[in-house]
Amino acid sequence: MNKTSKIVIALIAVLVIILGVVAARRAPRQSTVQTANAKEPVKIGFIGPLSGDAVNIGLNAKAAVGIAVDEVNQAGGINGRPLEVIYEDGQCSGQAASNAANKLMNVDKVSAILGGLCSSETMSFTAAANNAQQVVLSPCSSAPAITNAGDYIFRDYPSDSYAGKFAADYIYNTLGKKKTALLYVKSDWGEGIAKVFVDSYQKDGGQIVANEGYEQNSTDLRTQLTKIKAANPDMLYFVGYTEASIAGIKQAREIGLTVPMMGADAWDDATIWSKVGASGEGAMYAVIYAPMNDTFRAKMAAVVGNSEVTTCSPQAYDGLKILAQVMNQVGTDPTAIKNALYKVQYNNGVSGQSIAFDQNGDLVNASYVVKVVHNGQAVNKQ
């Protein structure tokens, strides 16, 4: 290294040290400024798929959160302070969600994070959030592993240990199918449900004749479907997000696999059924039962432009309201919020009659309903 390089490096090092000292000295002063100003907005971060796979579910949930925020602010905000949500795109991917969470926690300094929606989003930042003592409330992530993600991690959406079991019992007992083939996406969500499904179905007495996984961004599932067809199942349990499901459902019918299909909660997305056309006739899926009410539905229709309320939107709305309710009681300190959440009782929600959290931050109960697709529309199965 010649002399000029050494001087340049030394100057840069000095500059960095000066900037570091300035930033460190500024930080404590900033937070005192914030608490002193009572009109500073309370900030909550939102992470969900606003592009890519499951974008329809993400945007629908964003609309629901927007409605909840307006209602909270019209009722006076959080102890007089306006509530503001910062929306970040998790892209249904761990990497994007992790970056989003870092930005929300370290740059925007939010008081809580409402998100992620996809389990892969949530699981990418719960460790960091928990260590930083940041409250996370996911309105959609169902991977069983999230139950043990930490003290500060909550969800108002049931774990897939319920969903997988419900599907297994439904297929075995209600539909009477004893030989099922399993096709699932290799993501945190897909693998979680698949494992619970296999365990429950086999415990019921059923036989898993084929067990095929696929990478999340695959759109060619023909090989897996060929192997499944060769195994002669009488039912297909297909756990997939929107894009692969569109391709998979069409391809299954194209290679002559005619057995009935059942999917998981991600199939509660109208774009799938409008795109697969006749191939989707008779497909079923289990989704969380959310009572909703007419006011909520009307507001959603006004924002979204159609009557579709996808899975997780009621939970996102309630999630925001729960956080607001708790913050009204205890303020914006994350540890206080966390402690209050464990004791919260939220009634007359749109996603459930009464919501409370158990010692792991999971919902205490869950109920599912089965929907079936006829002519491109999903209706409750009688």
Partner: protein
């Protein structure tokens, strides 16, 4: 199931073959790895989507316009970027990086205009035929037949026409071709047009058969590149054979192994060929 795997291999092989043919054609003439080749094809597919589905134009007309657009886009990229770089005597590494940049820009543009959602080019239920205990759809039969036709036509073009002779001369030695008086820049422009149009055809087929996503551009192209390499870069027959070989190995390989290893098998095959027979199956 055996027959279904054969049919699946034929379909994948056909699409890989189209990509390999176009890529090979361009590589022969310009000697650099054009990573934007795939995305130019995807753009063509999206033009068909935009015209036929969003605007409701006649499907065959949209198809033709899609092909021409893909070709034109390839031609433009060559005219504005690659030939400028060549004039500056840029190295192959520079051109590869430039093509990578173009790929990124194109993919982002497509995503901005059309969203990154998965789109299907035709909505109706396809006509399914049963053949030896396996199923094949009408579209898939068309894909295989058209690919054979295109490969045949390309071969005829290269071997029997004057233009084909010029392309072969150019790929042999660009310097001598210039000395002999060939307008190499014009020929390369046409090569890009034809190659990109073929790539467009590949992605239109992909869109009709399963569906289009902006991110398909690089993945499928890489399969085409593997096909071209194992078939013998520089040889049209070679890319064709390489493509079907790749497809068969992939599909039969995952018969017994879990299906998510498909891409791993493809690249493992590439590595094996590079180690033991780098010149590919067929020599120039």
């Amino acid at each position: 199931m055996f027959s279904q795997i054969i049919i699946n291999s034929l379909i994948s092989g056909a699409i890989y073959a189209l990509l390999a043919l176009g890529f090979n054609l361009i590589y022969n003439s310009t000697k650099f790895f054009n990573l934007s080749h795939g995305t130019v094809g995807v753009a063509g597919g999206y033009v068909v989507y935009g015209l036929a589905q969003l605007w409701g134009w006649n499907f065959y007309l949209s198809l033709l316009i899609g092909l021409l657009s893909a070709g034109a886009l390839g031609w433009f990229l060559n005219y504005f970027v690659f030939s400028a770089l060549r004039r500056q005597k840029a190295s192959n590494m520079t051109m590869l990086v430039a093509s990578l940049g173009l790929f990124t820009i194109l993919q982002a543009l497509i995503t901005i205009i059309f969203s990154s959602q998965f789109q299907i080019l035709n909505q109706s239920l396809p006509q399914i035929y049963s053949l030896a205990n396996a199923s094949i759809t009408q579209i898939q039969i068309i894909i295989i037949l058209v690919t054979l036709l295109v490969a045949g036509a390309l071969l005829l073009l290269l071997k029997k026409t004057l233009f084909g002779k010029m392309v072969r001369a150019l790929s042999d030695d660009e310097g001598v071709a210039k000395i002999v008086g060939l307008n190499t820049e014009k020929i390369i422009g046409w090569v890009f047009f034809i190659g990109s149009a073929i790539a467009g055809l590949a992605f239109i087929f992909q869109g009709l058969d399963s569906g289009l996503e902006p991110s398909l551009g690089l993945g499928l192209l890489l399969k085409g590149v593997i096909a071209a390499i194992i078939g013998g870069v520089g040889n049209v027959y070679g890319s064709f054979v390489g493509a079907f070989l790749l497809a068969f190995v992939e599909n039969f390989g995952i018969w017994k192994i879990a299906a998510e290893w498909k891409d791993a098998i493809a690249f493992a095959l590439l590595v094996i060929f590079l180690l033991f027979r780098p010149q590919g199956l067929m020599k120039r």
